[in-house]
């Protein structure tokens, strides 16, 4: 079936679709850029940031997310080396760590609420912590969907081209949300 259409056109199609993910990464970066620049202008004009000691949970979750990125990298490598059971193992690991990350983020909110730094706050900088981490969790959910897509592809044994395509877009997106969170965390640490 695949042979009947022009191989070249299909390759081109995958390249174009992969590029779509990159462009999504760009626009998403800009959205978070909008919030962090809001923060900078807000903090500069009011002379105050969120003024909190961020909960330790954020530090643990960052670690979890980093490890999950490493796992996804290992899964990609296993796929390239055609070690498919290893690939599935590391994909499951990535998925699990992603879920743990989301759980830790939400518990970190719990800690923040306990210290009185609630979302509906007269200090917009504190509200913004929830906004950026919340929208980051939405990205994590989307990323988990992509990981699941790669897993399904691996189990259903779809064509190698398509599996590779799925692995690639999952990697682009997951590493992006990893770096995005590190940016946000460091930003919040530096601008307290």
């Amino acid at each position: 079936m695949v042979q009947s259409i022009n191989q070249h056109e299909v390759k081109l199609d995958f390249r174009a679709k992969k590029f779509i993910i990159w462009l999504f990464v760009v626009s998403s970066t800009i959205m978070f850029g909008g919030w962090t620049s809001y923060y900078i202008v807000f903090a500069a004009s009011k002379g105050k940031g969120h003024g909190l000691v961020l909960p330790d949970l954020f530090m643990y979750s960052t670690g979890v997310l980093l490890v999950s990125s490493v796992c996804l990298f290992l899964a990609s490598r296993a796929f390239r080396n055609q070690e498919f059971s290893m690939q599935k193992f590391f994909l499951w690991l990535t998925l699990g760590l992603g879920v743990i990350f989301a759980y830790l983020q939400i518990s970190a909110w719990g800690t923040l609420v306990q210290t009185g730094a609630v979302f509906s706050n007269n200090n917009a900088a504190i509200s913004l912590i929830y906004v950026v981490s919340g929208f980051h969790i939405l990205h994590i959910l989307a990323g988990l969907g992509l990981v699941l897509g790669s897993l399904f592809g691996a189990y259903r044994n779809i064509s190698v081209d398509r599996q590779q395509f799925r692995m690639e877009i999952t990697s682009i997106f997951w590493h992006f949300i990893d770096i995005l969170w590190i940016y946000l965390y460091v930003f919040l640490l530096l601008n307290s």
Binding site: L12, A16, S27, S45, R166
Partner: protein, 631 residues
């Protein structure tokens, strides 16, 4: 994102089926949930036209109020019920009318209707691609847009009416549901609609950029792309870089409205009630909004400029003057448009030094805009002009772009803007330069590519009628507004006649309203022409305008995948019109240089020495032949 990827792959399967000839098209998959870029373009166009008619109707309603502030029109009550009790439009409804008119026109008509239609139609056709990078995302893009339109229209049917804080929805007015009736449910619906809209334009824009960069046919390098594609490409980049900032701003506004945060709110008293919100700043909304909002006006005008580049070149039978300059000026506008947003905020108490910076960048952006204008004029100059309706509308765009652009230079100067801010001078300026100019570009595109979209021709005579009435009336509507503005008449006022010094302007407003009514009636000529010609128009030949670009090499009957056989290869730039020595006055992009030996120029070969050698040999042989004939 995951569903999208999975679905993409499913689409692949169906594409494979298609190659085998098993493709089944149902009504739903062909006309409703279509993934064919040509059908999606038509969906965008027709939805855009419907929204434009609605928004135009709204403008006539508030123009009635402005011209005859004391007269009662009982028919209005029949239609609008409590919004026009006693036949007079209520002040709250007046504000809703201007707000929704602006929102629909800027976002739904001139962004989605214009880019959505022509980027979808022309990017694959003019670049030689089977479809968009992701047809499924393209379909989603339309349906998000459609949802946005429906949600926006729903706000007319809620108890408190549609959003009324102006199309820029500045807080605190928009952030406090209790501030005015329009800030209630209507505002919530506005924000939801806007989020859908942004999702739609991001999906569309991302698709356009990826398609342009990855799916060009053989031989189509970037410098062989028609200017339409350059314009759509850069417009899509602008959208990708600026719309997410609007989302960021809108999300914070939603939290302020519904979750008690204070991003934009501080020190507010409603009646006797002091609100708890503290520490926010409404100016920050303006920054976030105009960081999108200013690029947005270029998102509106650039596709129109691209369309008119193509239409003017084709119908002048001349290569576009300064192709490279046209591209670089588009790039210049794209970059500069991100650093001018502050000129909307000169009166917010901005640091004068910062105001000066924004003033300088604003004046610099006039340079690429002027380059484009001069190039249009130089293309027209001594051209073998064919005055088709599309050509007239493209020339009309140039006219509006000049007359509206000049007042932009006034308004870009902080010292003048402080006087003119929020007066009718601003209304006149942007209705000419981005309103009329962009809609004329869109109409030029509709008249020009109608044969490609529907396989039939539009009636030219009705087109001329439509053009002249619209062109004259647009000037009659917007030109007088400059003088109101210079005299200090503020925009958005329900009844400015309450101020004695402005009463003298009522007569002008009556004149303007009549001109607006005639302009609105003129659109009936277009609407009839458009819908009648879809079914009953003259069947179009394959290349009705004798144009060079690739879309005219596709068959008149649409088919999935655009070209029946292999995708054609491109050999030359798209503007070889009236080339000296050529047999006809146009040479399509698909004609190789080996078939046009008599008209090839040394620079055509871009330094390919082998080709130059062959050409020289051919010329020498021709000369020898000439000599023997003479001898």
């Amino acid at each position: 994102m995951s569903t999208i990827t999975i679905q993409n792959n499913q689409h692949h399967d169906s594409h494979d089926d298609h190659a085998h000839g098993h493709h089944k098209e149902t009504f739903l998959s062909k006309y409703v949930f279509s993934m064919d870029h040509k059908m999606i373009a038509k969906q965008f166009l027709i939805t855009g036209i419907i929204m434009a008619v609605i928004a135009m109707g709204l403008s006539i309603l508030f123009r009635l109020q402005l011209a005859w502030p004391d007269r009662s029109f009982p028919i209005l009550e029949t239609f609008l019920g409590k919004w026009a009790e006693g036949g007079r439009i209520r002040p709250e409804f007046y504000l809703a009318l201007v707000t929704i008119h602006g929102t629909i026109m800027v976002f739904f008509v001139l962004t989605a209707g214009l880019s959505g239609t022509f980027s979808n139609l022309l990017i694959p056709l003019q670049l030689g691609a089977r479809d968009m990078a992701s047809p499924f995302m393209n379909m989603l893009s339309y349906w998000f847009f459609f949802t946005a339109c429906v949600v926006m229209m729903c706000s007319f049917f809620v108890q408190t009416g549609p959003a009324s804080a102006g199309w820029t929805v500045y807080p605190p007015l928009s952030a406090l549901p209790k501030a005015i009736p329009g800030s209630g449910t209507g505002m919530t619906l506005w924000l939801i609609s806007m989020i859908c809209f942004v999702v739609s334009s991001l999906m569309g824009g991302i698709n356009y950029v990826s398609t342009v960069l990855n799916m060009r046919t053989k031989g189509m390098d970037l410098w062989k792309m028609p200017l339409t594609i350059w314009a759509f490409f850069l417009t899509a980049i602008l959208g990708i870089l600026s719309f997410p900032v609007l989302v960021a701003g809108v999300v914070l506004l939603i939290f302020d409205r519904s979750f008690g945060t204070s991003f934009y709110l501080s020190d507010i008293v409603i009646g006797t009630q002091v609100l708890p919100n503290e520490g926010g700043s409404p100016i920050l909304w303006q920054h976030l909004f105009w960081f999108l909002g200013h690029p947005e006006v270029y998102i509106v005008i650039m596709p129109a400029l691209g369309i008119s580049s193509e239409v003017i070149s084709v119908n002048s039978r001349k290569p576009i003057f300064g192709y490279h300059a046209m591209v670089y000026s588009l790039i210049g506008i794209t970059i500069l448009s991100f650093i001018v947003w502050g000129h909307h905020m000169f009166v917010t108490g901005m640091n004068p030094l910062l105001g000066g910076v924004f003033m300088i960048t604003t004046l610099i952006i006039a340079v690429p805009s002027a380059v484009k204008t001069f190039n249009y004029l130089a293309t027209l100059w001594r051209g073998n002009i064919r005055f088709t309706p599309a050509m007239l509308f493209a020339i009309g765009l140039v006219s509006f772009f000049i007359s509206g652009g000049l007042t932009g230079i006034f308004l870009g100067n902080a010292s003048l803007d402080i006087n003119l801010h929020d007066t009718y001078f601003v209304v006149a300026h942007f209705h000419l330069v981005m309103g009329s100019a962009a809609i004329f570009g869109m109409l030029a595109g509709v008249y020009h590519w109608f044969p490609k979209m529907f396989g039939r021709m539009m009636n030219a005579k009705l087109g001329y009628l439509h053009f002249w009435l619209t062109f004259i009336c647009a000037y009659l509507v917007f030109f007088p507004l400059h003088f109101l503005g210079l005299d200090g008449v503020p925009r958005r006022y329900y009844a400015f006649t309450e101020f004695e010094f402005m009463q003298k302007w009522v007569t002008v407003n009556i004149f303007v309203t009549w001109a607006a009514i005639i302009a609105a009636l003129a659109q009936v000529a277009f609407l009839f022409n458009f819908f009648y010609s879809i079914f009953k128009g003259k069947v179009a030949p394959q290349n009705p305008w004798e144009a060079n670009t690739l879309e005219w090499t596709t068959p008149v009957e649409h088919l999935h995948g655009n070209w029946p056989g292999e995708i054609p290869t491109v050999y030359r730039w798209p503007y070889d019109y009236s080339k000296p020595g050529a047999e006809e006055d146009f040479i399509p992009q698909t004609v190789p240089f080996s078939l046009t030996m008599s008209s090839n120029m040394p620079h055509d070969f871009e330094g390919n020495t082998e080709a130059e050698r062959i050409q020289e040999e051919w010329m020498a042989a021709q000369e020898a032949k000439q000599k023997t004939i003479v001898d």
